[in-house]
Symmetry: C2
Subunit: 222 residues, 2 copies
């Protein structure tokens, strides 16, 4: 269709800009995670949970992507970490050029940069922003068929977080099937089962992040 | 950004095509509803619920929009109504040109055409397909802030369905705030509270649809 005609060159120029962002993030020695999920799956809650557990040990920056508004940024700011807001206005995803707009605003080094993408399972997966990796989030109320229906994201995500597991008793969500569906797209995905409401599973995610942060530090030192 | 440069002409040509679709749907005397929601909000369950209540009184066609696969189409087919599948491959929404591909496959007259768009709160709202109106669905687990965060859809939707109300006791979802947020974008929105699990609220939706279908029939007869 009409957009497909322009999609290829758009993605090529996006990839070039993503590489440049990547170099800038590397100069900051930052681990950059592009967090992608449906609206309301729990991206902001995940970020808040990580901040609470890791903010005293690591320097954290959050980049908030929203169509409009900044309520999540304001909420996260209150936790005592820096936040940069990007409003996409009409766009349903962040791209490398939007992420590049955040770069001049980064005035110091951060160990961890958490990017909250626009709530959408489709386009955010197509546009690299210069991240180390994508983290896909799936919340149980959405259904265990979503990895099959939105394959690209689950194919590309290094980490998959299944959220709202506290609701499992009230849902027809088969977590074994959900994990199978993720693994079918991506056999090496690292999967966490969490509840942002009860905090279950956040220890495990943060332990994993600490390993990655320490590995990054060692690599930079060596 | 790059896509914005082409977005305006794309939307203009889409609107022209949507008008032509509209004329075709009018020749069929069909009421066409474009159903838009997040992944897993309950679009397919809504469609199934409507079919079960109305299929013996009205001729119903479902047009299923998915990135890939046809599991929803197969499920709906079993209910004894006709289904046309559109796979968008990389696109995060249906547009008027994709909907036009369904037109030659419509071999008879239908009273009601239910179009299930791709699960996404952003782009499906931007692209008219020739529908009578958009129906936006919001499921309680997504949070009561979604109409504020994804304003265009709720601004444009004539009908807003709040689904999964059976989960309200387990969620921090304020239904009064959610309705306020919808009304702020769209004071005239017709709002239904339903549970696709228990069937609550489906009577009301179907009663509303019957009124619309009867009004359409009268208008055509007159």
């Amino acid at each position: 269709m009409r957009r497909i005609k322009v999609l290829k060159p758009v993605l090529v120029s996006n990839q070039q800009r993503a590489k440049e962002n990547r170099q800038a993030f590397d100069r900051l020695n930052s681990l950059v995670i592009n967090i992608i999920a449906s609206p309301g799956a729990g991206k902001t809650s995940l970020i808040k949970g990580i901040i609470e557990k890791l903010k005293n040990k690591y320097r954290i920056l959050v980049i908030e992507g929203d169509i409009r508004g900044q309520i999540d940024s304001e909420m996260i700011s209150k936790l005592g970490v820096d936040v940069i807001q990007i409003n996409t206005v009409t766009e349903c995803h962040l791209d490398a050029f939007m992420a590049a707009q955040a770069l001049p605003k980064i005035k110091k080094k951060y160990d961890l940069i958490l990017v909250e993408n626009v709530g959408n399972l489709v386009c955010p997966a197509e546009f690299e922003i210069g991240e180390d990796y994508k983290l896909a989030m799936l919340s149980c109320p959405e259904g265990d068929d979503k990895p099959m229906k939105y394959p690209l994201l689950f194919h590309l995500a290094k980490v998959v977080v299944i959220n709202k597991c506290d609701l499992l008793p009230y849902l027809d969500f088969n977590i074994v099937e959900a994990k199978k569906a993720v693994r079918k797209e991506n056999p090496r995905a690292i999967i966490f089962e969490v509840s942002s409401k009860t905090g279950a599973g956040f220890e495990e995610i943060c332990r994993h992040l600490e390993k990655e942060l320490n590995a990054k530090k060692k690599k930079t030192a060596g």
